[in-house]
Amino acid sequence: MYEPWFVDNKPENDKGFEGAVAYAVATKLGYSDSQVTWVRAHFDAVISPAPKNFDFDINEFSITADRAKVVDFSSGYYDVTQAVVTVKGSKIAGAKSIADLKDAKLGAQIGTTSLSAINDQIKPSQQPAVFQTNDAAVQALQNGQIDGIVTDLPTAFYMSSAQVKNGVLVGQLTQPAGQTPEQFGLLLEQGSPITSCVSAAVDALRADGTLAALATKWLAQAGAPVLK
C-alpha cells in the first residue's frame, strides 16, 4: 500500500496507479465503484493455495511461471523496470554502470523480482540484504547499513524524491536480452472462474489506452539513466 501505487494507504480513494487500475477493471467487468470492496491480505496469505477472501489482488505482484503453478495471474497491467536508489554521499551515488555497483551492499524487499535482479544481473560481491518491507529497507539505507535499494522504477522515483532524505535515483536496470519482459499482474485464486474475464478486461484497458493514461497520471515517467 505504498505510493505511487496507492495514495494515503487508502485503496478505496481511487487514487494511485493500482487503486485506479482496480476501479477501471471493475468498471470494465460491469461493476460500479460502490460495489468494489477492498480487503487487506498479508503477502503469505495471498500466495498460499488456501481459499482467498478476495476475487483479485492488485499489489505489484510480478508474474512468473513458478508462481503461476500456485495462483492465477491476469494479463500484465504494467511493464516493470528495476531501479537503484541511494542517498547523497553514498559510494554508489555516482554509479554509471552495473560494474560500479559490484562492491555495494544492496537491499531489496523479500519476494520481489528486485531481489532476483540483484542476484542475477548486478551479482554484487556482498550478499544482498533482504527486508520484509520497503520501509525497513529505507530505514537501513538512511542508517548507512546498506548502500542502496533496488526496487521497481515508480517506487524508486517515489523513494528518492519523497521517502528518503537526500535520496538519489542512481539509474534503471535494463531487462537482460532474450528474457520475457517482467510484468505486474492481478493475482487470483488458482482455477478462479473469472481469471479469463479479468484478463480480457485488462487487455481491453491496455488496448483503449486507459492503462497508459493512468500510468502517465500516477507514475513518474521521467527518464532515469540506464545502467549498462
Binding site: 503453478k69 500456485v70 519476494g111 525497513a136 542508517n143
Partner: protein
C-alpha cells in the same frame, strides 16, 4: 505394549494347587494356601519343572500379550489409514502436496536452508553462553539480602520487568534500526550484532527469573547450615545453593534454550541475516511454494529432539531426576 492387558485366568482356581512344587516359582502373586507341614520339602531349583497349570498359565499370558500387541497394531494402522485417506480424499490434496511437500523442490532448497540453519545454530550457541552468564548475575543480584543492596535488587527487578514485558520483535526493531541511526562511530551498526543484543537482553530476563525460582526453592536450612559451617555468602551460593538450584530448573532452562533457538530466526526482520527461516521465506516468496518452510521446520525439530534427549540422559546419569521422569 508389554502385555499390560494380560490377566490371569481366574486366579482363585489355582490357589488349591499352590501347595505343590510350582508354588516356589510362581511369581505372579496368586494367593498361596498355607503350606502343608506334612508335604515334602520343595525340590531344588534345577530339578524344577513347571506344573501343567503353570505351563497353561504362561501360555495363556503369552496369548494375551500377543492379542494386545495385535489389537494395538491394528488400531494404530486403522487410525493412520483413516488420517491418510481423509487427507488424500480432500479436494485440495493434489495442490496441497505440490505446495507443501514437493520432494524435488525441497531437496533443491535444502542446501541453502541448511546453510542458513548453521547460522541459527551458531547464533544460538553464542547468545546462550552470554545469556546464561548475564541471567545468573541478575538472579544473584535479585536474591542478595540486606538493605545496602537495595539498588542492585531494584535494578535487577526493573530489568526483568522491562525486558520480559517488551515483545522481542519490538526490541529487535528498536535496537536493530534505532542504535545504528544514532551514528555513534565506535558502536557496530551490523544488524547481526544488534539482533544478538536484542535476543540476549530479552532472554536474559526470562532465564534470570527461572534461575531465581531455582535459587529460592533451595530450603533456607541449607543456607543456614552452610553459613554456620563458616562459608561466606559467596561460597554458600557457589557451593551449596546454585548447584542445587540449577539442577532443579534444568527442564525450564532447556525450554528457554529451545525457544531461543527458534527465535534466532526473528533477527532476519533486520534484513541482513540469511538464517534458515529467511532463506525459506525467500524461496517461498519467489515461487509461492511452501515446501521450503516445511524443510526449515524439519531442521529445527531435528535439532530439538536430540537436545531434549541429551539433557534427559545427562540428568538421569547425574541422578537429578528425583521423580524418575522418563520418556
Amino acid at each position: 505394549m508389554t502385555g499390560g492387558g494380560a490377566v490371569d485366568p481366574e486366579p482363585a482356581a489355582h490357589s488349591g494347587e499352590a501347595a505343590g512344587p510350582s508354588a516356589t516359582a510362581d511369581a505372579a502373586g496368586a494367593p498361596l494356601a498355607p503350606t502343608d507341614p506334612g508335604a515334602p520339602p520343595p525340590p531344588r531349583d534345577d530339578d524344577w519343572t513347571p506344573s501343567p497349570i503353570q505351563v497353561e498359565r504362561l501360555a495363556y499370558r503369552r496369548a494375551r500379550t500377543r492379542r494386545s500387541v495385535l489389537i494395538a497394531a491394528a488400531s494404530s494402522i486403522v487410525l493412520i489409514a483413516v488420517i491418510v485417506v481423509g487427507l488424500i480424499s480432500t479436494p485440495g490434496w493434489a495442490r496441497f502436496r505440490e505446495t507443501f511437500f514437493d520432494l524435488n523442490y525441497g531437496w533443491q532448497v535444502l542446501p541453502d536452508v541448511a546453510k542458513g540453519f548453521w547460522l541459527n545454530i551458531r547464533l544460538m550457541v553464542v547468545c546462550e553462553l552470554v545469556i546464561l552468564a548475564l541471567s545468573m548475575l541478575i538472579a544473584l543480584a535479585r536474591t542478595l539480602r540486606g538493605p545496602v543492596f537495595f539498588p542492585l535488587r531494584a535494578l535487577a527487578a526493573g530489568y526483568t520487568d522491562l525486558f520480559r514485558g517488551l515483545p522481542l520483535i519490538l526490541v529487535l526493531l528498536i535496537l536493530g534500526f534505532g542504535m545504528p541511526s544514532l551514528r555513534i562511530a565506535w558502536l557496530p551498526s551490523s544488524a547481526l550484532f544488534w539482533g544478538c543484543v536484542a535476543l540476549i537482553l530479552t532472554y536474559s530476563a526470562y532465564v534470570a527469573e527461572v534461575l531465581r525460582a531455582g535459587i529460592e526453592s533451595v530450603h533456607p536450612s541449607q543456607r543456614a547450615a552452610a553459613r554456620s559451617l563458616g562459608l561466606s555468602h559467596g561460597q554458600t551460593m557457589r557451593h551449596v545453593v546454585v548447584p542445587q538450584a540449577v539442577r532443579r530448573v534444568l527442564p525450564p532452562l532447556l525450554n528457554d534454550l529451545v525457544s531461543l533457538q527458534k527465535d534466532t530466526g526473528l533477527i532476519s526482520i533486520l534484513g541482513v541475516i540469511y538464517d534458515a527461516v529467511l532463506q525459506a521465506q525467500i524461496f517461498t516468496a519467489s515461487t509461492f511454494n511452501y515446501t521450503s518452510y516445511v524443510v526449515a521446520g524439519l531442521l529445527f525439530v531435528l535439532l530439538t529432539i536430540p537436545m531434549t534427549r541429551l539433557t534427559d540422559w545427562v540428568s538421569r546419569r547425574q541422578g537429578w531426576t528425583g521423580a524418575g521422569s522418563h520418556l
